[in-house]
Amino acid sequence: MPSGAQRRVSRLLVGAAAVAMTVAACAGEVASSDDRETQIYATALDWLLDRPDTEVGDVEEPLIYIEHLGSDAIALAVQVDLIDRYDDVVELRFVDARTEAVDESVSDAPVREGRVLIGLGPISEENELRAEVYRSSSEVTAYRFRLHDEDGWRLSATPTPIEPEGLVADP
């Protein structure tokens, strides 16, 4: 049976661990804000949301699913910034699994409730990325974006249509 002193020491250790973790959590908050990534994705999304292939029609609660085409998820802070940025326009919902957005029980595997799934690829060091728009397995379009930083991130040229890869592959 632990003595009173042992209990006090273990409580102190737990308390110290709590303080250390709190400090780590607060530090993570600052380090995670990746402004470049947010700006680049926002520029790509601005362009995509103006296009007819992302139109969600006259629905009461417009919602667009976003899937990352890279191996890791988009950083949480970037997701939160993007959700906040488009809050008045459209609700963004980031998904881990395609089943979250796509109804695979129906032929052609459409996005649930006639909505749209956008795939965003990782951003290269040359500030390039791939983005794909998915409505159903037979309705997928893809674009390559090149951007540059000039008082904020801008498109270097009109995005070029390319062959879809990420969203036509198995999740």
């Binding site: 737990v14 308390g15 973790m21 780590a24 997701q79 939160v80 959700i83 881990d96």
Partner: protein
């Protein structure tokens, strides 16, 4: 408010279902009564908090990205809780009005955090603030569960009061649900949390009406400790903790897999309703069940029930089986709480202090955090998680049944012949918790019992025991008590040897 000298809890009149239902609705006539509106405000606040999450970031961000943060805050939930919760009991006991301060602190803290969160539902501050609410919820439940036993006048009222608290709380939570959804649709998630904060604030004010616990402490702390660390209470705490761990695991596992499966937000609401219905019906089923079976078996059934539902969910994971699992967990929670209270009532009749309960309740709540951590770390596929849940509960339930069978076998050996050994074992456990005087008396009794067998050798051992007796009781000397136990153990062994030889002789003839 009812005076402390109020009549005891009315007992059910008649045996029909209507009489039982009416008796269940009889107001609690005890100083614990002012806790009812406090609990109702707390439960309503819980519902508003849960509804507001539908409009939070939780459904918008990817769980893979959020997982490290959820893990971190869950770990943080455990840390301050482990440090703070053991202080709650002594605080309730030591300071006049300490019990009110703890309740008001937990509820007032939740009101404040809910207000802060109402403006941060779409920011990263959602995570620390939501987990702060979870920590305060655990502090509240530990303080409430520690406070009820010290408020009730008659020990047999403990179960009744806890049942009423559960029933009224569930009813208030259910009533708050449609209001919360209406506010969510018309004014947004932030407004729902503001109403939740008001509900917590009202609970804080109402907590002022909770009277002081009984001023007298009828039993010594050592008696309480001995009773509270008894085998029955230990087993029940393990069972209750296992169930809470399952609830924590199921909460996060189902939340993750259902979001991943693209389930709509209303289905999450339906799950909460199923759990509430299970919990509410449990408050009626529990007394019926208790009349037929003992409390430990009731706890085993409470563990097996969601275990069986978990097997079904693992074999066929779909909406119906998930709803059944949520309802089974709610029902099991109610049954287990009733059984746990009865175990305490029966096996620790002298425990009257908050300190005695806070430790148990803390361990139980830490089980919830541990289960939740496992779900977040493992991110198991839907049916695998359900299978793990089922396997865990069935194992715990199976172990309890095996222990009961073993105890029944042992009981066949409970006779005068085994008395010295049993007395020595009790003396050892009393010495282990520091009660050396009682341990010495029991060691002496073990020696007496061993000596009662004619023909036992070891008269010198018995004389040694007797000479140590006065010394041990007068001086409260730990070493003397230990020596007495050692001598009594030797005498008990001699006794056992004689008994065995006699039995062998009888068998041979």
């Amino acid at each position: 408010m009812t005076s402390p000298a109020a009549a005891p809890e009315p007992t059910p009149q008649g045996t029909g279902w209507w009489s039982r239902l009416r008796s269940a609705a009889v107001p609690v006539a005890s100083p614990a009564r002012p806790l009812l509106p406090v609990q109702m405000c707390h439960s309503a606040g819980e519902t508003f908090f849960a509804v507001s999450l539908a409009g939070s970031l939780f459904f918008n961000v990817s769980l893979d990205a959020a997982r490290p943060r959820i893990l971190l805050y869950l770990a943080l939930t455990m840390a301050p809780f482990a440090v703070l919760a053991p202080l709650i009991g002594p605080f309730i006991d030591r300071f006049r009005g300490g019990h009110r301060a703890v309740l008001m602190g937990a509820l007032g803290g939740r009101a404040l955090v809910a207000l802060l969160l109402s403006a941060q539902l779409r920011s990263l501050l959602l995570y620390p603030l939501a987990f702060a609410i979870v920590v305060l919820a655990k502090v509240y439940s530990v303080s409430r569960n520690s406070l009820v036993p010290v408020l009730v006048e008659e020990r047999e009222h403990l179960v009744v009061v806890n049942s009423r608290l559960a029933r009224d709380g569930t009813a208030a939570g259910a009533a708050a649900a449609p209001i919360g959804v209406l506010i969510l649709e018309t004014a947004g998630a932030g407004a729902v949390l503001v109403v939740g904060a008001l509900s917590y604030a009202l609970g804080t004010i109402l907590a002022l009406r909770v009277p002081s616990p009984h001023p007298e402490v009828p039993a010594s702390p050592i008696v309480e400790t001995t009773e509270m660390s008894g085998a029955g209470i230990r087993t029940a705490t393990m069972g209750m903790g296992s169930l809470r761990a399952t609830v924590g695991f199921a909460f996060f596992h189902l939340g993750f897999v259902l979001k991943e499966a693209g389930e709509p937000v209303w289905f999450f609401g339906l799950m909460a309703v199923a759990s509430g219905v299970g919990s509410f019906s449990g408050t009626f089923i529990a007394p019926w069940m208790r009349r037929r079976i003992d409390e430990q078996l009731m706890l085993t059934i409470a563990l097996a029930l969601p275990g069986i539902t978990g097997v079904v969910a693992a074999l066929r994971f779909h909406r119906i089986s998930v709803l059944a699992l949520a309802a089974a967990l709610g029902l099991a929670g109610s049954l287990a709480r009733r059984a746990f209270d009865e175990v305490i009532q029966t096996e620790a009749p002298h425990a009257r202090r908050g300190q005695a309960y806070a430790g148990l309740e803390t361990r139980i709540e830490l089980g919830w955090v541990a289960g939740a951590l496992l779900a977040v770390i493992s991110r198991a596929p839907d049916w695998v998680g359900a299978a793990v849940l089922a396997l865990w509960l069935m194992t715990v339930a199976g172990e309890r049944i095996a222990a009961v069978v073993a105890a029944a076998r042992r009981e066949s050996g409970v006779s005068l012949e085994t008395l010295p050994q049993r007395l020595v074992a009790t003396a050892e456990s009393l010495a282990a918790v520091g009660d050396h005087q009682q341990a010495a008396v029991l060691a002496m009794a073990a020696g007496d019992a061993a000596r009662s067998v004619v023909g036992i050798p070891g008269e010198s051992l018995f004389q040694e025991l007797r000479s140590l007796q006065h010394e041990a009781i007068d001086d409260h000397d730990e070493d003397v008590a230990e020596r007495m136990i050692a001598v009594a153990r030797q005498l008990a062994s001699e006794h056992e040897l004689v008994i065995t030889r006699r039995a062998e002789g009888r068998a041979a003839s």
